[in-house]
Amino acid sequence: MLRRERIADVEAGRLEAVVIGTSAGGINALGVILPALPAETPFPVVVVVHMPPREASPIVSVFKSRCAIAISEPRDKEDVTGGVAWFAPPNYHLLVESDHTFALSIEAPVNHCRPSIDALFESAASAYGRHLVAVVLTGANEDGAEGVAAVREAGGIVIVQDPATAEMPLMPRAASARAQPDAMGTLQEIAAVLRAGAIARHR
């Protein structure tokens, strides 16, 4: 795995939030990442997966049975609490406010996507600054590339799935071209880094 020094901060648990963006192949990829996180994960994990717009998303129920960490879809103004993997609801953008509450939006799609990874990442970059870890996984469009640039600009940490190992390489490739990742590796390697961060304080 390509890794730079700040990944040690993540593994030592020095982070406040993780945001993850993915599209095509994302359900399988998250199926490797999320089950690695314990129920006591101290930080929130906020996830955008591009899905067809419909009222009720099956994602929450798909992951609930397979994960120790709680799985939820936030309501407007809900606190972004740790120990939960929060999924953006279909057909809404999901944003994080500076006071670490969720804000939803039905503004126009970004890169034809609603929810948009860029929209989540940019707001989270502003809310968590250098204590944010942004992760881009498999995907077939370039949503997330502007987002990781904003995360990097705010001093946060960027982790990208190695495009060579991604089901769909376009999204991780665009992200790593836009902001030099602090780590780039397989799903298993990324899962191990996040898991280390999640259990660091319990050791």
């Binding site: 407007d76 039905i106 809310a127 502007e146």
Partner: protein, 273 residues
């Protein structure tokens, strides 16, 4: 996108300037959303910084009307979230039928999709003629579009599918005429609607109503402004009147939660106690 504390200072100054100069109050809007919209506005209006945008807003009379289109969101569909309307038909309309005349407030009506959806549903349920709809918004351009009731034909397939999924007994095509690439909604719907300028941030209660819908409007407000707006809706509603919110909106975090109960399992419908 530029972010950081300096950007937020500039945004607060701009919103103050807009309030003092134009009496539009965006100061209690969700900051995460305002940041995004101003980034788009700066790009489209060719202003490198928010401070430059402020200068233009104050000194060039053409700029504010354009900026207002970015600050107010105008994205909706006819029968958006069909289950909301399905619940309206099965749970809410039976009680509305017991009133000899009805008043409905659509707060934040934007370009009219929500109020026309309600009007079509009310016609299908046989209660349109006894109903007056008050459709309010702060954006004069949006209100003009809403009054015109003309929508691009390419949006009709989505509207038709939503309408069907809402449990409609008629076909949507009975309620519009297609002409020159547009769908013009039936004039008899328009007749029951009063469009009006009204701000949830600065105006007060204007009527007693049996039903309020305000969907995907409160999500752009901070908690304090949400409470103000919900207070207006609470005070407008008669006893047992209904409040319809967006699918992901909830009264759970509001100080007005105890003024309402939930008549059904559908999260987005509330009833005034």
């Amino acid at each position: 996108m530029m972010i950081g504390p300096d950007e937020d200072i500039e945004i607060r100054l701009l919103l103050d300037a807009i309030y003092h100069r134009f009496h539009y109050d965006f100061r209690s809007y969700s900051m995460a959303s305002i940041r995004r919209r101003l980034a788009q506005a700066r790009a489209q209006l060719g202003c490198e910084t928010t401070s430059r945008l402020q200068e233009r807003v104050l000194h060039d009379p053409q700029t504010f009307p354009r900026l207002l289109q970015f600050l107010t969101v105008q994205v909706s569909d006819l029968f958006r979230d069909p289950s909301f309307f399905a619940m309206l038909r099965t749970e809410i309309v039976p009680e509305l039928r017991t009133y000899p005349s009805l008043k409905v407030w659509v707060a934040g009506c934007s370009t009219g999709e929500e109020v026309y959806s309600l009007a079509i549903a009310f016609r299908e349920e046989g209660i349109l003629d006894r109903t007056t709809f008050y459709a309010t918004d702060i954006n004069p351009d949006a209100l003009r579009k809403a009054e015109a009731a003309v929508y691009p034909l390419e949006r009709i397939p989505t509207f038709t599918e939503n309408h069907r999924l809402s449990g409609a007994p008629t076909s949507l095509s009975e309620h519009y005429t297609a002409a020159y690439g547009s769908a013009v909604l039936d004039r008899s719907l328009r007749k029951q609607i009063v469009f009006s300028d009204h701000s949830l941030a600065t105006d007060s209660v204007f009527a007693e109503v049996q039903l309020v819908t305000c969907r995907n409007v409160l999500i752009y407000f901070d908690k304090a402004l949400q409470d103000r707006a919900l207070g207006l809706m609470r005070d407008s509603l008669c006893r047992r009147g209904f409040l319809g919110l967006g699918t992901k909106e909830t009264l759970r975090f509001s100080s007005h939660a105890t003024a309402f109960r939930q008549p059904s399992l559908a999260e987005q419908w509330y009833q005034r106690c």
